[in-house]
Symmetry: C3
Subunit: 303 residues, 3 copies
Amino acid sequence: MALRAALRNKCGLSGLLSQRSSCSSHGRVCVSPVLVAQQRNNSTSPKIDVEFDQSTGVAVMRMQSPPVNSLSLDFLTEFCIGVEKLEMDKGCRGLIITSNQPKVFSAGLDIMEMYGKSPERCGEFWRAVQEMWLKLYSSNMVTIAAINGSSPAGGCLMSMTCDYRIMADNPRYSIGLNETQLGIVAPFWFKDTMVNTVGHRTTEMALELGLLYNPSEALKIGLVDQLVPEDQVLTTAAQAMTKWLAIPDHARQITKSMMRKPTVDKLTSNREADIQNFVSFITKDSIQKSLRMYLEMLKKRRA
Amino acid sequence: MALRAALRNKCGLSGLLSQRSSCSSHGRVCVSPVLVAQQRNNSTSPKIDVEFDQSTGVAVMRMQSPPVNSLSLDFLTEFCIGVEKLEMDKGCRGLIITSNQPKVFSAGLDIMEMYGKSPERCGEFWRAVQEMWLKLYSSNMVTIAAINGSSPAGGCLMSMTCDYRIMADNPRYSIGLNETQLGIVAPFWFKDTMVNTVGHRTTEMALELGLLYNPSEALKIGLVDQLVPEDQVLTTAAQAMTKWLAIPDHARQITKSMMRKPTVDKLTSNREADIQNFVSFITKDSIQKSLRMYLEMLKKRRA
Amino acid sequence: MALRAALRNKCGLSGLLSQRSSCSSHGRVCVSPVLVAQQRNNSTSPKIDVEFDQSTGVAVMRMQSPPVNSLSLDFLTEFCIGVEKLEMDKGCRGLIITSNQPKVFSAGLDIMEMYGKSPERCGEFWRAVQEMWLKLYSSNMVTIAAINGSSPAGGCLMSMTCDYRIMADNPRYSIGLNETQLGIVAPFWFKDTMVNTVGHRTTEMALELGLLYNPSEALKIGLVDQLVPEDQVLTTAAQAMTKWLAIPDHARQITKSMMRKPTVDKLTSNREADIQNFVSFITKDSIQKSLRMYLEMLKKRRA
């Protein structure tokens, strides 16, 4: 499988450091000497920094793929490897996912993976999106999203797979599955995940209108569980993790599986059809045209 | 099919105008010269006025069957024809449903269609109720209920099929599926629609007790989405429609279908059994007796 | 069947009175002369007092198994017999369940039935727990929980099976399915019942963390329907019952069955597998160890 092959070829520490240098060159110093020392034995990669504290059993994954942590095939591959490694480590009981990029948790699926690509490549990309969701939604670890920036589309999906969501209380940030605004459609398992989180009617409105919610609205509908000032997102996540880890793992894991297995099984047993469906939809002329217009709009906005 | 046959024999403009005269004779002038001119090319019928604005792509259906827009077989037949015509018109993207009768959106299923009728006639009636629900709940158009009056039972069902519900903030109005109060039972697809709107527990209480909610309560439980002063219901619906129509049709339609298809399929594949079930229930002596008592109570109240 | 056999051998009035004496010896006088006189013709048993008022059609079941109404095999057997007798009595339309023990509604499943017992005995116990749930969740009577004390685990389950829940507004009381806190797992039908009551996401958090809610929190998430001062719980239940009984029985019963039958059928058709599952889980060394530690902790707390 592609992911396992990638696992074997994963980038080493030097890759991390060069990435981290480029990160600090954006005016934010991400790496303290202590962290670098700690991370010698950690799984790391250019796009994601994994810091695992064996004393607490908690890992923190920091997404650091400039500028907005887009979920490209490369990103997703590294992300899944990181999660898989932690999942297989019996000492790792909890995972906090956060962002090292300013103002954004993750901007969601990388549109460049969907625009002008071959059907094969689109299919490979979609399989990686599925894999990310499958791994997170059925993780045996306690997973907490420390949402320290905007989190549209795939970023919202990633957040919703977690057991608990803490968001920075900054009204400029937003979260939601806004696919229809781009003329594309959130697939059934995005929808199922949202229904499981905020219920049927809220999901119906949210998906049909492609709604993005500010933090207060997201809290009100239950899309996130807690709002804190931006500089407290990670410490609050660590505190919440302590509470979750007080529950015996086996009882919590069986319970989590009972809640989520039907939803997971639905994708697992329809995985190839879902890929076919995505590929045939995204490679349509009309959809490619929509994406081109969106990309041109983005370009103009930057200029 | 009965509906298509009726479509061919639909009433012309003269029917509309005589109906409209009787409408204005109740003290409300419904027809401005401008509207009459606009409607020359519109589908109209005595019980429902359809006004389609090609420039906006939005149609407004005004129910105008005195005194309370009861959903009789004739009413439902005309209603479904109206919806079907708009659905087939590619230029029509949105539908606003409202009432021309004072104080009531729709009083729901016409009890006279259920009392003292032959099983065949009851079955034909029930098929028309199903058809109304199927057409609205799976409509490709954006559907908005502009609920400018009370909306019990079938009126509530009609409202719940829409994508968005705006209700007049008049505490004397109420909305809900109050069937059990009359000794009858909302069928499974009424129930499914309500569960999809307000969730399982609220539906359980609402249906078992036959609860009618005032506008504030209805907003609180999510049975309606927005309250506005009575004279702003229609303009607010038009504004909301603009927001909904900003989303690309194909993405919104696929999403809507994804949310609602399982519920629609459930009735489609159980349609004949559901008719049989209704007919055998409603023609029971005990139920007919309940209905007679209810009708006598209504008579006394009027006298 | 075990329950029917037990029904034939049910305890008589003398059993009740000795039980009641021990109850009043705890400083609360439970039996007024009037009540004793009334109860001559009532079904009673040592652990549960059933008072049926034929004039109103409403029965009140008072759980009185010191100290905390633990759901032992004996308790459940008597409880189910009581419910079955009322269910078969056409004159009985409503059932109020409450506690005669101070500060607690029911502490839930009796841990002594799960600790150090043979697989056969564990299986018999679990079948009785299933029976209690099946009888209550599918009861044709209106069932109201008058929750006048804490109601963890099985106590919460029993409350959730009712049509309506009124809780004493005492912040020292709590309610919830806290199984994971003891290292055990609420089975799928506990989960289904909670999802039907408070929705998927709230259930997910509640079950994974084994959350106990104080009355205000329970009201907020919809785990209970109403809070009143402790001394008004029973009178409020009686008033609520009047409202529920105003609805024609047949319409309410069909509606209730429509809402709950899928959930009931799921256990009915998986009953033996669920028992096997419980027995093999609970007799595991690791689980027995967890229970022993919990029991020792309880002992120390009392000492």
